[in-house]
Symmetry: C2
Subunit: 193 residues, 2 copies
């Protein structure tokens, strides 16, 4: 039929994608493991064979989401010619990606609450936040912006973008709002210079 490794990867992937869909749609607290297992075509026993707890499953799902966003950001950024537009376009890409409601609920709303801020931040650092600090460091080394503590600036910018994404995703916000936000954000970035 199939090798164990294939089997394992297949069920695990099915559970992760199913869980991701349901977590994104209803929120972590309002989705039961029984529901996830059934929707993935297995039982709760199988789920617990792959993930030792509900939180661990969520953590995996969050990591998937983070990596996806990180890739999108990196892809958009590395197409840019110089470090400065690398930063600006990376930020724009992050804002675009994380405005998706599905991404938000998992990455920005439930993430910190379920895993705790420390753990959440560690995951964030592995994907998109790392790109931000790297970009800032590059700009400092290149002399584009003055030497300054990178960490605080990165945290401030990261928080600003997270909140902006949540706001933009609210119904009633238009493309004009998006443009205005990007304008204000660009001004913030320029303040680093």
């Amino acid at each position: 039929m199939a090798t164990k490794r294939e089997q394992r990867e297949q069920t695990s992937a099915a559970l992760r994608t199913t869980a991701r869909r349901l977590f994104a749609e209803h929120g972590y607290a309002h989705v039961g493991l029984e529901t996830i297992a059934q929707a993935a075509g297995v039982t709760k026993g199988a789920l617990y064979h792959h993930f030792s707890s509900k939180a661990v499953l969520f953590r995996q799902v969050l990591a998937d989401v983070q990596n996806e966003v990180g890739e999108q950001v990196q892809h958009a950024a590395e197409a840019q010619p110089d470090p400065w537009t690398y930063l600006v376009e990376g930020c724009r890409a992050f804002l675009t990606a994380s405005t998706h409601p599905d991404i938000q609920r998992i990455m920005l709303i439930d993430g910190p609450s379920v895993l705790g801020w420390n753990d959440w931040r560690a995951l964030d650092e592995q994907s998109s936040a790392r790109l931000l600090t790297e970009a800032l460091t590059t700009l400092i080394d290149a002399g584009t912006i003055p030497r300054q503590p990178v960490e605080p600036a990165a945290r401030l910018l990261s928080g600003a973008m997270n909140e902006a994404a949540l706001w933009l995703a609210q119904s009633g916000n238009t493309d004009a709002d998006r443009d205005a936000t990007m304008t204000a954000l660009t001004r913030m970035l320029t303040s680093l210079k």
Copy 2:
């Protein structure tokens, strides 16, 4: 013995303060209503007589916290002579107040997850976020900063401060980190000009 109104207010206050302490310490999801009720010296029946659900109790607690922070910010800000330092010192006060771990867990971590971002933002708007938009509007009207969309700028700044507060509250962060953050934040504020 006591009038009904007194009795009511007393038990409600006891439940709110107890719940606040426990929510702050362990997080919303890890505190049972039975625990809260017992710690407040009543039963779960009493709790449900005052609050129709766990989420409603949390909402009340969050409102209390928000108002407290809002008052601290306003108090610090209105002591300032001009609108600009009003803004800067208000931001500093917010950062100080929301760095308290007890405040954080309720206001910044669990709040959006439990109530949903919409509802959370509505409460935020009633207390501290309102002060921010008002300050920006005043500065625009006074001509200190150019006319620009207030909402996006306010959201970006609010998010930046929230995240910075969470970061600063992590163990291992010093007064120097706080100063560096405040410096970077001030630079951001100056970018509005």
